[in-house]
Amino acid sequence: MVEAQVKTELVPRRRKLEYVVEVMDVKKYYKLGKVIVKALDGVSFNVKRSEYVSIMGPSGSGKTTLFNMIGGLDRPTAGKIYIEGVDIAMLDAYELAWLRANTIGYIFQTFNLIPVLTALENVMLPMIFVGKPYDEAVEKAKKLLELVGLGRFIHHKPGELSGGQQQRVAAARALANDPAIILADEPTGNLDLVTGLKLINLLKKINTEQKVTVVTATHDLKMVDVSDRIIWIRDGRIEKIEMRRDIEAEVREE
């Protein structure tokens, strides 16, 4: 009896979750010689399911560090991060790889497609890692590439695609295993104004149609228009959190 009780407590929390991401007093310190750099100094916030949240701040504010930690790509010095109710610091290498493959879809500033693989194969990669049968993976990848408007480019290699197209392949890849969250780090950073705007609209479309939670780290102000909430980071701390409806109200008042 006692043993059974202990066991249920050890199982990661799997209650019906309101929050997909919970960040609790997260700190990240780096030692640079004798100086301790506080990249993040006590950051807390939650992200609701199907919410579109942008983390904004100047470069060096700690937003990429925060982003990496939400994605399980880096570990905090102190504090906790829960993804789908699971404390990611408690995961071993196997579970972390499984989380990265299934729960999170990443989009990077530099696209990071595998150059020797075609668009289709790039989108298939995360599905191969979770052991999805080959034919199913092909079908799913084709559908996703159509969703991002690249149905005609499935056999193109990244080098044969424009930056905007590559980032759309990356968006399709991020969706491969139906993740709960898409994490996009400066997704428009290497795109011009028009293609950047197209990508932002694509992310919003994915967010509303597929009910995927989107978290972006960015300093692209175009992102404000589609975000439900904007978390402003400065010097490793949250400066303010704005709801979009408040911003819109402000604009109307002016």
């Binding site: 290498a93 196997y94 790889a97 499984w98 995360p126 191969i128 890692f129």
Partner: protein, 185 residues
């Protein structure tokens, strides 16, 4: 934990496909790895074929040691050259490695991919080196058992591949995704 089935995988066929693809499309960049092996194996094979001629001018009891030292030189030069070019080849792919890891690849998958690639390259180099060494050796009037030499050439090439690829592959495989993605080459 009851979580053992929740494990990311890389089927062997898929790994081979990715490696062959990578070799085919990056042949220019990785030719240097093949050349390092080819030259050393050619050197070794031709010396073996010419051993009787070389031995005629050396005191009989020193022949074995002399040939061993020549082989050793070929081995060390090949291993050093191959490791160096593999280090560069793998460093150029840190971004790719970081990307794969952020989509579920585990350390062992990265290690496997890099080792398979290195072994294929060294076997190709070993075979080419064998052919060239045979040509030089016979051309200069040497003699020997070509079948034995083929085995030796491939065996030494594989050994060099294993030794020189394991360190850079291991180092790359255990990088965290962030580290791998942050590296600027």
């Amino acid at each position: 934990m009851g979580k053992s089935e929740e494990k990311t995988v890389l089927p062997f066929g898929e790994a081979i496909y990715m490696v062959l693809h990578s070799i085919r499309l990056r042949l220019g960049r990785i030719l240097v790895v093949i050349i390092a092996i080819t030259a050393s194996i050619a050197y070794m094979v031709s010396l073996d074929l010419l051993s009787r001629i070389l031995a005629s001018s050396i005191p009989p009891n020193g022949v074995g040691i002399y040939l061993f030292l020549l082989d050793l030189t070929a081995f060390i030069v090949a291993a050093a050259g191959t490791m160096n070019s593999l280090l560069i080849m793998i460093a150029e792919r840190y971004h790719e490695i970081g990307t794969m890891k952020s989509f579920g690849a585990r350390d062992i998958h990265i290690f496997e991919l890099l080792m398979i690639e290195a072994l294929i390259l060294t076997i190709i180099g070993g075979f080419l080196g064998y052919l060239i060494g045979l040509g030089i050796g016979y051309g200069l009037g040497g003699s020997g058992d070509p079948v034995f030499l083929l085995g030796k050439a491939i065996g030494v090439a594989v050994l060099i591949g294993l030794i020189s690829a394991s360190y850079p592959s291991y180092q790359a495989a255990r990088m965290s995704p962030v580290e791998a993605l942050r590296v600027e080459v």
